[in-house]
Each structure stands twice: as C-alpha cells, then as structure tokens.
Symmetry: C2
Subunit: 343 residues, 2 copies
C-alpha cells in the first residue's frame, strides 16, 4: 500500500495501535504535543521533530543560522504547548559533503541562540555524514508539575477558544520567498522585493515559541483546559482538540488575528487571507481553550494583539466544527494543513 493512501496520521495510527505500555513512568505516550513521563512525582516531557532538506526547508532561501534557530524553536514550542517549561535538547545532524565546518557552525549558532533565548541546555546528540543533504533531528525535554500539564483532550462545551499572536504570516512569508526564488531563477540580477514585508519573512524564517504566554497565563492564574501549538494550521489543530475532547467548535472569521502586511501580501498574490490564516501552518502560536469562568482573567492579555485573541468557543459535538463568516453564515472547517505524505 502506498503511504500516501493512509496519510501521516493514518500511518502513525497503523504503526502504533499495537503498542503496549510497560513502564509505570509512562503517563502519556503518543497522541499529544509531547509524551509525559512520571519519574519522580514531578513530570518530564519529551518531544521530537525531524527536519529534512528539500521537504521541510530549502537552503536556497533559508540561512543556516535561521534554520538552526527554527529547528530548536519548533521543539521548544511543543513543550510550551503542554504548559510545561523546556529545559534540554539533544540534536542529531546528518551532513552531506557539500557542507563545510563553517556552515555547520552557522547552523549551530542558531541552535545556540534559541537555547539561550529559551533557557534550554543542549545536552547531547549525534553527528554523522549523510549521502544527500542535511538532516536535523531534535528532541526536547521539559518539566512541569503534574497538575499544570495541559493535554489536547480537556476542552469542554462553552470554553473560550484563544490563539496567541497572529495567523497566516509564516505561510505568506514562505509564499514570498518562493516567489522571489522563481524570479531570481529567471533573472539572477533581480533584486528581491521584500520591502515592507520583513515581518512576514521573519515569521517564516525565525518563528518564536510562546513561552512568554505560558508564563503570563500562569501569572494570571489561568490553566487552559486544552492546548496545542499551531504547526499544521488552525483548522487542523482545532480538529485535533475537538476530536480528542469530543466536542465541536465555532470560530469567528472577524476574530481571526491577522497582521496588516499579511492582508496586503495575500491581496497582492491573489490568495484568500482567511484560508491562509486557517490552513497556513508554521505559525507556532498557541491554540488553547479556557473555561468561561476565566474570561475576566484573560481580558488583560487581549489588549496586546501580539498576546491573546479570543476567536470562538467550544460547542456540543453534534454542532461540528464551523467558521462563522462575517455575515453570520456557518462554513464547515476542513483541515488542509501540511500533508506529510501527499501524492
């Protein structure tokens, strides 16, 4: 059977359905942003990501330092998405002959920068040659108190749906880079037209994990009922939360936080900005739900558009997953996010 017939999630389901848990210390295995291990009453979290050249990144326009930074951040983001604190990473690199020592130092300087920024220690790894291209595999460890950990399955009817920052910018940054790459191919003398769009590039090339929001939620006394980070796109992540929580949801089009230059570029490139915001992916913002009773507490965080926006609420399962359009129309949400095994 071709893997594309099953898709990534189908394949993972098929591979993992026979797994049995043998250790008492395994509190939560596959199925969330990170695994949760109970070693010593406190909890240790583990997540891992594999990034492959030509699949996850294109070195024609991604500087190695940014790539290193992003590779670490996407893992750190997964630990944040469990409402936990990232503490350590291990880094494995497969390196082909076309890379020099200086190249790899540049990549590492980005990883180191992310470690410093997020207070994470690089504690190990594996480095070897590869036949083709660059392979980066990072595993991140984190810690949390048991009661602080937030899974995907805790959303309840009437909970408020929140996202941090804004949506679609990372996707539009990628479209911009792709457009300029093609221009450059036909005319090597062309100057890239990035002016006024630096923010979108930064969102694609140097995303941040929202550890700041995790801390602010804690200070505000809010424990989300469900949470994950937005790597595949808002629609796809909403489906995970609703299917694991056994609920539906309603999200309001006019509440989706979208940055101005993203609106402009979408118009310029003839892309539907709402589709970009719903399905773009790679924003690494947090999607979370909170109890309605925490509304008062979250309000101060909604004053800064880069912090939190309330975009909808959780509904009964029978209501499905809907986008409520500007004229009140209900549009069923579909996950068109990142397809790891598309045909």
């Amino acid at each position: 059977m071709e893997i594309s017939e099953l898709g990534e999630f189908g394949l993972i389901r098929r591979l993992t359905e026979k797994l049995k848990i043998q250790n008492k210390s395994t509190e939560k295995g596959i199925g969330d942003d990170a695994a949760v291990l109970n070693f010593h009453n406190k909890r240790t979290l583990v997540t891992t990501d594999l990034l492959l050249e030509g699949i996850h990144f294109n070195l024609e326009y991604v500087p190695l330092k940014h790539l290193g930074y992003k590779s670490a951040v996407v893992n750190i983001s997964d630990i944040c998405a469990m409402n936990a604190t990232p503490t350590q990473i291990v880094v494995s690199l497969g390196i082909s002959k076309r890379f020099t020592v200086e190249n790899i130092e540049e990549l590492y300087s980005g990883i180191r920068l992310a470690c410093e920024r997020y207070g994470v220690d690089l504690v190990g790894g594996d480095t070897c040659s590869s036949m083709t291209g660059l392979t980066i595999s990072i595993t991140c460890i984190g810690e949390a108190r048991k009661d602080d950990i937030v899974y995907r399955n805790g959303a309840k009817e009437n909970d408020l749906i929140c996202v941090t920052g804004n949506l679609g910018s990372a996707y539009l940054g990628l479209q911009l880079l792709e457009r300029e790459r093609i221009v450059l191919q036909s005319n090597p003398e062309a100057k890239p037209e990035f002016e006024g769009k630096e923010y979108l590039l930064q969102r694609q090339l140097k995303p941040e994990a929202r550890l700041d929001i995790i801390r602010k939620l804690r200070e505000a006394g809010i424990r989300p009922t469900a949470m994950m980070d937005i790597s595949d796109g808002l629609s796809s992540e909403l489906m995970h939360i609703c299917s694991q929580s056994g609920t539906g949801c309603a999200v309001y089009e006019d509440k989706l936080p979208i940055e101005e230059s993203a609106v402009d570029l979408a118009a310029e490139m003839n892309l539907n900005i709402v589709t970009c915001a719903l399905n773009g992916g790679e924003d690494y913002e947090l999607l979370f739900t909170i109890s309605l009773s925490d509304y008062e507490k979250i309000v101060p965080l909604t004053f800064d558009p880069d912090e939190v926006s309330i975009i909808g609420h959780i509904t009964k399962p029978g209501f499905g997953l809907n986008l409520i359009g500007r004229n009140g129309e209900e549009i069923p949400l579909r996950a068109q996010g990142w397809q790891a095994f598309s045909k």
Copy 2:
C-alpha cells in the same frame, strides 16, 4: 574547511565549546553515552542516534525488521552503558516514496520487538516523507539513582578492564554480507554461503544491548568505575575512557574474547582477527572498569564466556595505551574505529 579535516569528534568539540549550561537540572551534558538530568533527585538519562540509509545501513542486505530492532537497541545500549535502566524511546522516521506501508510496518515491528524485549515504551516521534532514502532518529530515555550512574571518567590505576560477550563478530558479519552482496551482483543465481556463520550475521543484523549484565553487576554488588558501550571499536572506546579518566591501560591480546566462527571467517577472508576485535565496532558489548577489590565478586560472571572477560588493567597515564602481545611485546593501541567523516 572540509568537515573531514576535523573529523566527527573535532567537529563536535568545535560546535559545543561555546555552550553554556543554564538549567540546574542539567547534571551532565555532552561527552558521555547519555546526558544526565536531575529533575527530582532521581536521575533521567537521554541519548539519541541518527541512522541514515547508505551510511549506517544498506537495505540490499539488511531486512527492515532487523533494522528497526537494531535502531532501538543501539540507543538502549547507550543507556545501559551509563549503568541505568532504559524506559522510553521516541522514534522519528523520514520515508521516501519507494517504501510502502507494509515496509514501514515491518520496520516498526522490529522496533516494537526491541521495546518488548527491553521493557521500553515507545512514547512519541515524528513521521514525514523524505526525498531520498530512509532516515531513522531515535532518542532513548532512562532512569537511575544518582549514585548508580557510571561515567567514562572514573577509571583509576590498577582497575580491571572488562568486556562483555565477544569482539569483532559484528564487523565480520558485515564483511560476510558485503562479500555475498558482491557475489550476487556478478551472479544473481548464486546462493549465499552463510552456513556455519549464522552467529556472525546475527551479531551484525540483530545486536543486543547488555541490560542483562547491568542487572547481574547490580546483583553482584559491583558498581563499575567507568563504562561505555562498544559501538566504534574497543581501541576507540578505551581511548575515550583513558583520556577522560586521565590514565593509561594495558590490554592482553590473549585475553580478548573472540568467537570461534569469527576466527574462522577472518582466516578465510585474510583479515587479522585481532584487528577485527580491536577496531571492528558495532558489537554493542559493554567495556567497563572495576576496582581491583571487586575481583572476587566478578569472577562468577567470567565463567560464561558470553558474560564477562577481564582483558587488562588501567595504568598510570605515562604508560600510554598498549596491547600486550602473546609474546609480551607492547603494541600502542590506535583508534581506527568508525569514521563518521572520512575522506
């Protein structure tokens, strides 16, 4: 600068010299078989390995189930080499289009078998498509009491040097597979000549981690003073232990544990069996040192040649690292092990 000029260890040194540790929970970072994290008084260990098609394995002769098993075992072995208990793994796969769902299920069945055999839980991972070939990245987590953990740097003068099982068999198994592959290329009708050499193939294709010995040492009341697993070859690992412990060593040629069919195949292929035992690699046996005062305790483990052999002793640093030949001659040891970035 070409990476081959620095080599794997030089590159790692260069990349990691600027790292600063920021978390109290990081007890030991880079530089041993696994990192040691102090979360909650007890210790959590982390190690990771990256395996790339065409570099670490050749699917022309490695069955996918065996590959899955071995990929898990090499990580489990690293946790054992810290005198710790492996508890969880996370598995990332990069899969090219030529693999079917059934292929990946076969690979996974091997990983699962290793998990069952060693009591380890598979708790997460990442699965994505790759442009070229198969990429396997596994991170293993383990646990130990602080006082049980054994590093590479604890060997003292007069300590006994021990190895488990036998040496060189995995390397000879690989030579055998390579020989038959070449025969098969020139004559597709040829039957592979593996009779009487099944043990060597098994050592290459399905190595085991010596968790059994870790348990037996504990039962015997022995805590090794230094330990690591033999992945790159005995000479290379002895160099790590001696350089990190600030000692020399003397290892006796006639004490090296070598299996009979390995001796036979080496003769048949015109290979020096002692060189195979010293530099072969991939045996995944344990190399460890114990205090001379533990001699009585280890003796019962030396009765079974598959358990422990005493092969030499630790010396003052000035004495260097020497192999004592059958006629008493001193031959300086050189690490010719696995070169991840050879020219």
